[in-house]
């Protein structure tokens, strides 16, 4: 049903006054001619209506303007229903969210806690909402109280604040919670309320602490290996040296040979201890994340192997443009240094060594895969599955301890990547190193 324009016109106070005034004037004027004539009365009404319409012309203009058409009632009802549905959806979201939602008013008082708040704290919502002071100040760990107080000043600072705190659940258990608190303002900039969303991170924190303890144990073990194992090795070698020094000239040939065996065994033991140390250091060390130019890293590695390359007349070809990757430069250097060192060591004596380093195209652009391919002696198929385990060797005709590839795998894992191998005995080996690709730089995008 439309609102009748006539009703609107008559509703307008100016219109009514105009009509009445018009009629009165005409009627008074008519009185002077013939007060009882129907013609006089009709003329008064017509002229009064014209006066009223003239006085209400601005309202009429608005009514008849095409820019503000009248809205149907059905549409308004539909919009109200949609708003109610949206409100129900958001209410359902907050009620079922596995996070505590807390709203504080401009005075800092808790006015709303979502149902999950009870799960996180063990306390009833009514208990939290009824307090004059902030409930969470009562259950926060003493050492984290200052952090929480800073968050509660959010209406003053006006800045979102994220923090991690310890609280005591009603059961007495110490829990770790992560909270993000944001101020909510009106369109005019007035602070309305603060909204805090809290999740339980206790499991994450405890895992981190366990990892730190394991790393500490590994560090202690490394120190023990560094000193306590090296000491008897030093003794072995030292005493053999003392015997040779004091009795070398008088020792029979077989005794000299015996001491040489002891000496070599002590050397080997020392190398093994060194390898264990190197492997455990790779495990312990933290990994930084930076963008690394693979071109530069490979250039450094090849420079460092100049003498070995020239001595065996090896050819190493590197693709013209290797990608930028994400990781730690020194670890990436160690990976390629180990692989190229291995290729030089395990070359086939019957042909000149050739090493090719290139990028393999990948289905997903987030990773980069680099191939290090050689025409060396290759690896027997039965040795490939265990190749990346410590002290496993692909070939035994060359001196080595079998820790290099284990370190390569550990390093690649720490960088969020991986290493794989394909090999054929007598033909050669290809190592595939997958690393995280860096986002393209602006200059690359413009090319």
């Amino acid at each position: 049903m439309y609102y009748s324009p006539l009703v609107t016109i008559l509703d307008h106070p100016r219109t009514v006054r105009g009509l009445l005034a018009g009629c009165a004037l005409i009627f008074v004027a008519a009185l002077g001619f013939n007060p009882l004539s129907w013609t006089t009365l009709i003329c008064a009404l017509i002229l009064g209506t014209v006066c009223g319409l003239y006085l209400a012309r601005s309202s009429l203009t608005k009514l008849l303007s095409p820019s503000s058409p009248p809205r149907p009632l059905a549409e308004m009802h539909r919009e109200q229903a949609e708003a109610r549905t949206t409100l129900q959806q958001y209410a359902s979201l907050v009620d079922n969210l596995a996070a505590a939602v807390v709203i504080r008013n401009e005075a800092g008082k808790i006015v709303y806690c979502s149902p999950y708040t009870e799960v996180l704290t063990g306390y009833a919502r009514t208990e939290m909402e009824s307090r004059t002071d902030d409930f969470f100040l009562q259950i926060v760990h003493e050492e984290d109280r200052e952090k929480l107080q800073r968050a509660l000043q959010i209406n003053i600072s006006g800045e979102p604040f994220q923090f991690r705190c310890r609280y005591f659940h009603k059961s007495g258990i110490e829990m770790w919670y992560e909270t993000r608190t944001v101020p909510v303002h009106s369109k005019g900039g007035t602070f309305l309320f603060s909204l805090s969303i809290t999740i339980d991170v206790t499991a994450t924190v405890r895992s981190q602490k366990q990892l730190e303890e394991r790393n500490k144990d590994l560090q202690d073990f490394t120190y023990m290996v560094s000193h306590d194992l090296k000491a008897p090795i030093f003794t072995l070698k030292g005493m053999v040296g003392v015997i040779k020094e004091d009795l070398g000239a008088t020792l029979p040939a077989d005794a000299v040979e015996t001491f040489q065996h002891i000496d070599r065994a002590a050397q080997r033991l020392e190398q093994l201890v060194g390898s264990i140390l190197e492997y455990s250091r790779v495990s312990i060390q933290e990994t930084k994340s930076e963008e690394v130019e693979l071109d530069q890293v490979l250039n450094d590695v090849l420079n460092d192997f100049t003498v070995q390359r020239e001595s065996c007349k090896a050819t190493i070809e590197v693709a013209s443009r290797l990608p930028r990757v994400v990781g730690e430069r020194i670890k990436i250097y160690q990976i390629f240094s180990n692989l190229i060192g291995n290729a030089l060591k395990y070359r086939d004596a019957g042909r000149p060594l050739r090493i090719e380093i290139s990028e393999k195209p990948q289905r997903f652009s987030r990773v980069a895969q680099i191939a290090v391919k050689d025409n060396g002696s290759g690896i027997a198929p039965e040795k490939v599955p265990a190749l990346f385990r410590p002290f496993q060797r692909g070939a035994t005709h060359v001196e080595g301890l079998g820790i290099g590839l284990a370190c390569v795998k550990k390093l690649a894992d720490k960088l969020g990547g991986k290493v794989e191998v394909q090999s054929e005995l007598g033909v050669g080996t290809e190592f595939l190193v997958t690393l995280r690709r860096a986002a393209p730089s602006l200059s690359t995008l413009c090319e």
Partner: protein, 139 residues
């Protein structure tokens, strides 16, 4: 003052809880001079006793790890002594951790010698360091 010649006596205190390591150290120190006197101590307590009873001490060579305790305790005792506080002290160890070397320097050690992979290299390094320290002390 002129540098010491080989006829001058040297009184050195060598401290190591491992008898074999102590012997390797002693053999190196004896190569310095035929008229050298070496006091031996196989632990912290004997070392402390030797320092308190000594009437003369020109240099100390102390292993960093003594029976699971720190040889820096012996270094501290030397540095507190009214007569021997400024004598050269060489710390030795099979471990070569930078952190440990830094701590030795901070506590007043004159030098740090690593008991390297080859005992012969350790002996040569120890002899070179002691010679340098003794000649510097005399100048």
């Amino acid at each position: 003052m002129s540098a010491r010649d080989d006829s001058t006596e040297l009184m050195i205190l060598a401290v190591d809880d491992d008898p074999a390591h102590l012997q390797i150290t002693l053999r190196a120190l004896r190569k310095l001079s035929p008229k050298i006197t070496i006091l031996q101590a196989t632990g912290i307590s004997p070392a402390m006793q030797a320092i308190r009873n000594a009437t003369r001490l020109d240099l100390c060579c102390i292993d960093l790890n003594l029976d699971g305790c720190s040889g820096l305790t012996v270094l501290d005792e030397v540095r507190k002594h009214p007569h021997f506080a400024r004598i050269p002290v060489v710390m030795v160890s099979t471990s070569c951790l930078e952190l440990e070397q830094a701590e030795c320097r901070a506590r007043g050690a004159s030098r740090f010698v690593h008991k390297a992979e080859n005992p012969r290299c350790y002996q040569e390094a120890l002899i070179a360091v002691v010679r340098e320290l003794i000649s510097t002390k005399c100048d």
